[in-house]
């Protein structure tokens, strides 16, 4: 099956039905291995055992941003090509991205209390991450407010592209402002500052979270296609009655 064929919703449903069980199984396996490696990882010389929170916090932060990235690409598909599957992809990604952003904030807060002595500070990284969560909630509300899916998609696409400005702000906030949050330590010029014994489990957990994101996204897209079919059939039924 060519990738272009997936633009057809019926073919996409067939692809999703075949792929989701395999992707789900692979996600469980990678998570099992990742959690095992995370638990076996040594304590950090500064953070101690709380470094184990990083195996959740860092991947969920990445996935929160990836979710908005997926929505931004889909938003271009909506505005430029007006493809309904782009609308579906954007709408399905929003709650998943919001959940990962929330998890990032919660785990960051639970890490901050023992390490910084506070659950929250209004520094640039934390605030821009909170803004991302609010943007997610705004997009979800917009989808729910506008009845007609194609109109909702265009409005949500514009908000998504405007909100994408927050992604580089999150990434570079630790460089642009003086923040309590640490600077980049994984992807940085000169290499990672994290020891391999912690970096490897972190990447495995990131892979597991990424697989989970795409499994859930595929399943949510399938649900959205079915929801639109139900809507179309109900409209057909209503017009036949009247």
């Amino acid at each position: 099956m060519a990738i272009a064929d997936l633009a057809n919703p019926t073919r996409f449903l067939k692809f999703a039905n075949r792929t989701i069980p395999w992707l789900g199984g692979l996600t469980v396996l990678v998570f099992a291995y990742g959690i095992d490696q995370a638990m076996l990882a040594p304590d950090d010389y500064q953070q101690g055992a709380t470094v184990k929170i990083m195996f959740l916090h860092v991947p969920s932060a990445w996935l929160g941003m990836l979710g908005w990235g997926v929505m931004s690409v889909a938003a271009l598909g909506t505005l430029v090509w007006r493809h309904p599957l782009a609308d579906v992809a954007a709408k399905a990604a929003a709650p998943i991205g919001a959940a990962f952003t929330l998890l990032c904030l919660v785990t960051g807060s639970l890490w901050g209390r023992p390490e910084w002595g506070t659950y929250w500070v209004w520094d640039a990284r934390l605030t821009s991450e909170l803004v991302l969560l609010l943007l997610y909630l705004g997009v979800i509300a917009l989808w729910r407010t506008v009845e007609e899916p194609s109109r909702a998609a265009r409005a949500a696409a514009i908000l998504t592209l405007v909100g994408a400005i927050d992604l580089p702000i999150i990434k570079f906030s630790v460089d642009w402002w003086n923040t309590l949050h640490q600077g980049a330590s994984v992807f940085r010029v000169g290499g990672s500052t994290i020891d391999t014994s912690i970096l490897v489990p972190l990447f495995i957990m990131a892979a597991a979270f990424t697989l989970l994101f795409f499994t859930l996204h595929l399943a949510a897209m399938r649900n959205e296609i079915l929801r639109r079919r139900v809507r179309t059939l109900r409209l057909m039924q209503a017009s036949a009655v009247s």
């Binding site: 019926t10 304590d43 500064q46 953070q47 101690g48 055992a49 709380t50 184990k52 929170i53 959740l56 916090h57 969920s60 709650p95 998943i96 959940a99 990962f100 929330l102 998890l103 919660v106 785990t107 639970l110 890490w111 209390r113 023992p114 989970l212 859930l216 399943a219 949510a220 399938r222 649900n223 079915l226 929801r227 079919r229 139900v230 179309t232 059939l233 109900r234 057909m236 039924q237 036949a240």
Partner: protein, 67 residues
């Protein structure tokens, strides 16, 4: 750093992750079930898409086989 002192924060973080992922999986699964039930209900009442295969096709095939 004392691991025991911070165990509560670590456990709470992993519990939060389980809760968030659990809610996501439950939401996707329940939504799938709901949409399938709604579609099945509409199709039972004879409301189908124009592109969907006609319901009488299997019966027609059986009749052809008998003939």
């Amino acid at each position: 750093m004392n691991a025991v002192n911070h165990m509560g924060f670590i456990v709470a973080s992993y519990a939060a992750a389980v809760a968030v992922v659990g809610v996501l999986i439950a939401w996707v699964s329940l939504d799938y079930r709901t949409q399938r039930l709604r579609l099945a209900d509409l199709e039972m009442r004879g409301v189908t898409r124009r592109s969907a295969p006609a319901r009488s096709e299997p019966a027609l095939d059986k009749a052809k086989e008998k003939a």
